[in-house]
Amino acid sequence: MNAHYELPLEDAGYSFGFLDEYAKKEVRRCILKAIAIPGYQTPYASREMPMGRGFGTGGLQLTLSLIGADDTLKVIDQGSDDSVNAVNLRQFVQLTCPGVAVTEKTQEATLIQSRHRIPEKMLTEQQILVLQVPYPDALVVVEPSEARRKVMHGEADYSRLLVKLYEDVVRFDEITISHRYPTRLNGHYVIDPSPIPRWDVPRLHQSPALVLLGAGREKKIYAVPPYTVAEPLVFDDIAFRVEDFRDANGQRIACRCCGSTVSFLDELIDDAGNVTHQCSDSSYCEEEQETISARKQA
């Protein structure tokens, strides 16, 4: 978006947060329903937004319905505050919600909209995490008909999803789902936790912060309320595994910038073909670097 773009004068009568009050009210009602039934995909009337469906319109509508003038917003895309999607969404909110503060620091934000990552830093009860979701239904890989999927969800019939895991273990000796790992809430509904890596799935479990998931194109809202049981779907004798960041010698790879050995890493390959690793969460990485330099000075 052009930084100097202003809304045309005759359209400047937009209400706070771009959406009209009735639209925001409807989204809020659906959010309440989604929180009341953890994991249930609540249908809502996803509005046309001034950006293509699939660019985070679901998450954006949640954010715009929740945000108030005293909120501090953080927007990230795959862990980064500076990628195109994050910058565009942040500028849009700044344009349409006067008075809202923005930040890149996880702990300062009251509302975090994210694409495909949960921040490294533990969230608190005072924060809400909004995730952008492309495909809300975990059952879509085994059942094409939405009507039948709804019945399967209602009856908590996830055996066919487990058969897919079984077939994976038979063929590859491990479960091959890298992201969108099916996760069961409160022992009933199985959700698609948006394309977060496996690394982030255990952090949905008993999360102090409210996690809301919005799919704009598929017109669904669902939620992981604070302190909810969230278990990845697995077999009793095959434990859930997160990404393994060890090198050939079994040594945990460190971030090339901050040296952290406890964060989720992105693999980078430079022009010469060298492989390096760097924290995926840029805000976390910068803070680590600051702590290190402060320690050096002291």
Binding site: G154, E155, S159, L162, V163, V170, F235, D237
Partner: protein, 277 residues
């Protein structure tokens, strides 16, 4: 305690809008199951029978006589228009058609087994043979991978499918083997009641014999009650102790299989037996 496992009373299935004359103007004596007044199809009407533990009941009749419809209703594949069925399980009586959808699904997955004529109906051809059996075990809340593997392997071995082919897709199997995988799948939860719908139709004679042997062995070993639907008198003679004869949606004869075959009472049954011998 009675050994009864299933009791069916007045089971009916009518397709289409019904009129008061549907029942009185269809059936064997009218030589049709299509109502001449409203065009509804009376697939089955007033089917009554009891089934006891470990017993094999045969249902025989020509195409469109309502024998498959009867079994499909009992397996919840189709909804009956009227009638009731009571399933006796571990001292508990279940009024089958009064259960809600989730209870019906659970009964179907855990307490019943079904083997279809066409393996495409009973098996998922996108996944391995072992996966097909695993699906039923997972439905009955078994979540232990190694145990699922062992039990699926045992079941396949029991139905004479080699363990080496367990992880192969059933698409690559012969017709007889696919049928054996279906039987293994149906038996996975050790159900007390098994439905067999034309299981040997379309298989060559030696394979038919092997499958029938297998079914008899299972009955002796596990004491599973079965309802066998077929149009093949040989299958009935070999398997079933008691038999129902159906025509145009009605039961026109029932009794011990030997009685039905050696001393047929109804004209249709006489013709059926005569044509087969």
């Amino acid at each position: 305690m009675s050994n009864k496992i299933l009791s069916v009373r007045g089971l009916s299935r009518i397709h289409g809008e019904q009129c008061p004359l549907c029942i009185s103007s269809t059936g064997p004596e009218h030589d049709t199951n299509i109502c001449p007044h409203c065009g509804s199809v009376v697939a089955a009407h007033d089917v009554n029978f009891d089934l006891y533990r470990g017993e094999i009941l045969g249902i025989i009749g020509e195409s469109g006589s309502g024998k498959s419809s009867t079994v499909k209703m009992l397996y919840f594949d189709e909804e009956p228009t009227a009638g009731s069925a009571t399933f006796y399980d571990g001292g508990v009586q279940h009024d089958m058609f009064a259960l809600n959808a989730a209870q019906q699904r659970s009964m179907r997955n855990k307490r019943f087994g079904m083997v279809y004529q066409n393996p495409h109906l009973g098996l998922n051809f996108q996944i391995s043979a072992g996966g097909n059996i695993a699906e039923r075990l997972l439905m009955s809340d078994l979540r232990h991978y190694e145990e699922i593997r062992t039990r699926a392997g045992d079941l396949l071995a029991r139905t004479e499918v080699s363990r080496a082919r367990m992880d192969k897709n059933p698409k690559t199997f012969s017709g007889g083997m696919q049928q054996r995988v279906q039987i293994a799948k149906a038996l996975a939860t050790q159900p007390p009641l098994l439905f067999l719908d034309e299981v040997t139709t379309g298989l060559d004679l030696s394979v038919q014999a092997a499958i029938l042997d297998l079914i008899l062995e299972i009955q002796h070993e596990l004491g599973t009650a079965m309802i066998v639907v077929t149009h093949d008198l040989g299958v009935i003679r070999l398997l079933a102790g008691r038999t129902l004869v159906m025509k145009h949606g009605r039961v026109i004869g029932s009794g011990l299989t030997d009685q039905i075959l050696e001393d047929p009472q109804h004209a249709y049954t006489q013709r059926l037996v005569a044509s087969a011998l």
